[in-house]
Structures are given as C-alpha cells and as structure tokens.
C-alpha cells in the first residue's frame, strides 16, 4: 500500500516529465515498427516467391533472434555512438524477424488454387497481389506485428540507457537510486502500453478476418 502511494506521488510530482517520457517511448516504438513493416512486408513477399530465398532468410533471421535485445543495443553503440538513431536501429532489428517470418509464411501458404483462379479470370499480377493475396495474408502479418510490437515496447526501455529517453528513464533512475516506486513509474505505463497494443492489434486482426468465423 505504501509502495503504491509513493509510486503515485512520484508520478504526480513528475507529471510533465512522465508525459514526455511516454511520448518519447511511443515515438521510438512507432518509428521502429513502421520502418520494420515498410522493409519486411515487401521483403517477405519477395522471399515467399521461392523456396530457396525463403529458407535463406528464415535461417538468417532466426540466427538474429538468438541475440538478446540488450546485446543488439550495446553491440551497436561502438559503431554508432549513443543516441536516438542507435536506439531506433536496434529496435528495428528486433522488430523485423516476426514481421518478416510471418509475411513470408502468410504469402507462401495461400492456396495456389485461389491464385490460379484469380489469374484464370484475367487479373494481372498486381491485382492478384493487392486484391487477393494481401487481404488473405493480412491476419498472419498482423500476428507478426503484434509480437514485434510487444517486444519493441518492452525493449524500448533499454533506450534510456543510451540516452534516448522513453519510459526506461524511470527504470534506470529507480535502479540507480534503489527506489522501487520510481521503477514502477516506468514499468506500469510500459505494461499498459503492451496491453493496449495487444488489444488494438487483436481487434484489428478480428476485423480483417471476420469472413472466417461467421
């Protein structure tokens, strides 16, 4: 009870800072996710067209996944210095595997008969991609984005350690000052952001595949 109270008090006392930290956190997360999506969806479509590419990319990406996020971040620092771009690159690298792997799988597993029906009716390759393949792949791509989003929101905490702000600020500060309440001021909003992104993306997912469960 005491802890809850001191946490609350600290948050109220640092409201402007907290607001700024949350905004920074969200910006960090959004930019990394957007970059990953913009890179990985076309890349996943491309790899899905051939078994060899598909296998090569999946292996590479799974290799990447073995490296913990913390390591990625600190591996980059010697090359890029500290700062926002380093954090964004690290988070983007982190977000890419689930989006890429899911996009690849989503496009690769579309029933070939459906694509052939579309081609047989006189749709161009572009039309098939846009009107048939992409909508059918979307639910699985969204699953990838969901996973990536959770990972990135949590890992963005580490950005504070290389001076890029975000809610990790309070984790860092609480840790340094041995104050659990300050730590919670960072941890609680992070947990809430994860829950919110889960809720948002899963309802989006339900909406785009409503045709399945009716």
């Amino acid at each position: 009870m005491d802890l809850a109270f001191t946490t609350w008090e600290y948050a109220i006392g640092h409201l402007d800072e907290l607001r700024q930290a949350t905004t920074d956190h969200l910006i960090l997360v959004t930019i990394s996710l957007v970059i990953s999506v913009v890179i990985c969806i076309p890349l996943g479509v491309w790899t899905s067209r051939s078994w060899r590419k598909s296998k090569a990319i999946i292996n590479a990406v799974n290799g990447l996944r073995v490296i913990p996020s913390l390591a990625i971040l600190f591996l980059l620092v010697p090359y890029m210095g500290v700062g926002l771009d380093t954090a964004i690159i690290a988070l983007t690298i982190l977000a890419m595997p689930p989006i890429l792997v899911n996009t690849d799988a989503a496009f690769r597993t579309i029933n070939p008969a459906i694509k052939e029906a579309a081609a047989g009716m006189g749709m161009t390759k572009k039309q098939i991609l846009r009107k048939i393949e992409f909508p059918l792949a979307l639910p699985i791509i969204l699953t990838g984005i969901r996973t990536a989003s959770t990972e990135v929101i949590a890992s963005a905490t580490l950005a504070a350690f290389i001076g890029s702000g975000g809610l990790g600020l309070y984790i860092q500060r609480g840790y340094a000052m041995y104050q659990l309440s300050i730590l919670f001021v960072g941890a609680i909003p992070i947990a809430l952001l994860v829950l919110a992104s889960e809720a948002l993306l899963s309802s989006l997912q339900r909406a785009v595949q409503s045709y399945k469960s009716v």
């Binding site: 459906i114 029906a117 579309a118 081609a119 047989g120 009716m121 006189g122 909508p135 469960s213």
Partner: protein
C-alpha cells in the same frame, strides 16, 4: 460464337518421361458441351489450362473462332472473355458472394448499376435467392452453394466460352446430381461453349454433348455418349466407361439424346422429362403399359417421343 480448335498440341513438362499431352487434335463446335474424360494424370487439366493460357504448349496451336490465341492476343484480355470454374477452393474466401461474382465485371469496368443487377440476375439463374446470398461469405455456404456461386462468377462477364475443371469433384453424390441438373438446364438456355473436365464417367455421360477421352496425353476417342458406349474404339475406352454393362448405360443416357422428333398432332399420354435416363424411360414404359412416351421440356412442352424400339436400338 466460340469454336475451339486444338492443332497437334504437345505439352512437355521438365523432368517428365513422356509429354503430358502428345499431339492433341480436337475441334469443338460453338455451343457444345464437351467433357474431357480420363483417368487421373492423363492430361485433362493441362489441356484445359492451355485454353486460357495458364499453360503454354510446347508445340502446336489453339484457335478460338479460327484465331490463334498465341498470335497477338493479349493474355489478360483473353482470360476475361473466358469463364473459369475450379473446385470450390476457387472462390475468394475474403469476398462476399456479390464481390466474388463482380470480379470480372469490375475488371471490365462496367458501371456499378449494371454489375449489381447482373449479380442478382446470375444468382437467380443458379437458384440462390439474391437477398439471402449476396452478402454471404463462402464459409457461410454449403459446398453445393459455393459451387453455384462459382458457376455464376464464371458467367458474369457473359463469356461465350467456359472452362470447368472438376467443378463438382468435392461434392457429395446427391448434391452433385442436383448441380448437374441445374447446369444442364442452364446450358439449355445459354448455349455456351463448355469444356468440362471430370474423371467421373457417370458425370461425363450425363452432361456431355460429346466426350473426349484422354489416355496418357493422347486423345483416344471423341464422340457422343451413345457412340462412346456403343462403339468404344478400344478396350481402354470400353473398360473406362463400362460399355458392356447395359443396365448402367441405360442409367446414364438422357432420353432427349435418342428421342424421335415430334410428329404433329400425335396423342400425348404418358410424358417424361428430357433429362431423364433411358432406364427411367424403360421403367415408365413398362409401368404405364404404353407403346411410347412423350418427351417434354421443363415447361411441359412436348419435344419428341421415345419407344421400346428406340431404346433397344440405342444400346449395343
């Protein structure tokens, strides 16, 4: 109008010991219902997919209305003018019935109103009440209903030529008969040129104006169901269609294919529907103790007559 001519069509796939198709010569007249029949792997699908150029021949030519489909014809344009139906998986699961049927009209940039009324007209045609089915997704329909939508979708752009690849393959036997009946009725109204692939002999005998029998990439016989049954070219055909089983033959041949044209003013006693089999005709003749039956269409209009002699002469 749509005649198709296959000229010495050969198709080799990389890594196959023999060509999938080995010199097919076949002429299909306009408005005919042609069934491509043969065991699995004999090349039926390959032949069909050459007509809308999902496959290209290794050599030979295909002509639609005497024009080669490979010389200066745009493949996208060609496909939009040919209806295409495959097994039920061919419907787009994320689109409603209306959206599925509207694909080709939209590709051809029809005005919205025209497309809408076309969708309703087609749904009526395949016996699915538009108000009930327009907004449904494929997952909300039975296999048979999905296949009706598949047929409606293929008809949407009003093509002269329709390709159907085992469209009723995954459907239970009773529904399948239902769908076959509907298709026969529809074809009687529309008189499209239809190429229909099946490995189901009964289906071929019931539906076809003419059957093309394929074996290992070669055309072994091309003729009416009756010709195929009564004059099989070789043992392969004879065995495939069960030509020595007379009861079976009677069950598969439609009355209209052997009836005699109507003589004016003859009396009408017992009637029989034109799509009934000779077996039903025979049984009706026996039961009604008549010498002949009057063959009628779905509007009960007399078309011709059928007698014991007609039936006896028709089977080997």
């Amino acid at each position: 109008m749509s005649t198709i001519r296959f000229e010495k069509v050969v198709k080799e796939f990389a890594g196959m010991v023999r060509p999938a198709l080995n010199g097919i010569d076949l002429t299909v007249d306009s408005g005919q219902f042609i069934v491509l029949l043969g065991p699995s792997g004999c090349g039926k699908t390959t032949l069909l997919k050459m007509v809308n150029r999902l496959h290209e021949p290794t050599s030979g030519d295909i002509l639609i209305d005497d024009q080669s489909i490979y010389n200066g014809m745009d493949v996208i344009h060609l496909r939009r003018k040919i209806g295409y139906v495959i097994q039920q998986t061919g419907l787009f699961p994320h689109m409603t019935v209306e959206e599925n049927i509207s694909i080709v009209p939209n590709l051809m940039k029809w005005p919205e109103e025209k497309t809408k009324s076309r969708v309703d007209e087609l749904l009526d045609m395949v016996a699915l009440p538009p108000n009930e089915f327009r907004e449904r997704y494929p997952a909300q329909m039975s296999g048979g209903q999905q296949q009706r939508v598949g047929v409606a979708r293929a008809l949407a752009g009003d093509p002269d030529l329709i390709l159907m690849d085992e469209p009723f393959g995954a459907i239970d036997a009773i529904t399948r008969t239902d769908l076959q009946d509907s298709l026969l009725k529809l074809q009687r109204q529309l008189r499209k040129t239809i190429l229909f692939v099946t490995h189901d002999v009964d289906e071929a005998l019931r539906l076809a104006d003419k059957i093309a029998i394929l074996r290992e990439g070669q055309l072994v016989q091309y003729g009416t169901p009756l010709q195929i049954l009564t004059q099989p070219n070789d043992d392969f055909v004879s065995e495939l269609v069960g030509a020595d089983d007379i009861v079976r033959q009677l069950g598969q041949i439609r009355v209209e294919t052997i009836m005699e044209p109507l003589l004016d003013g003859g009396p009408i006693k017992q009637t029989i529907y034109q799509d009934e089999s000779l077996r039903v005709a025979l049984s009706d003749l026996v039961k009604s103790k008549q010498d002949f039956l009057t063959v009628v269409d779905s509007g009960k209009q007399p078309l011709g007559t059928i007698t014991y002699d007609n039936i006896r002469n028709s089977v080997g």
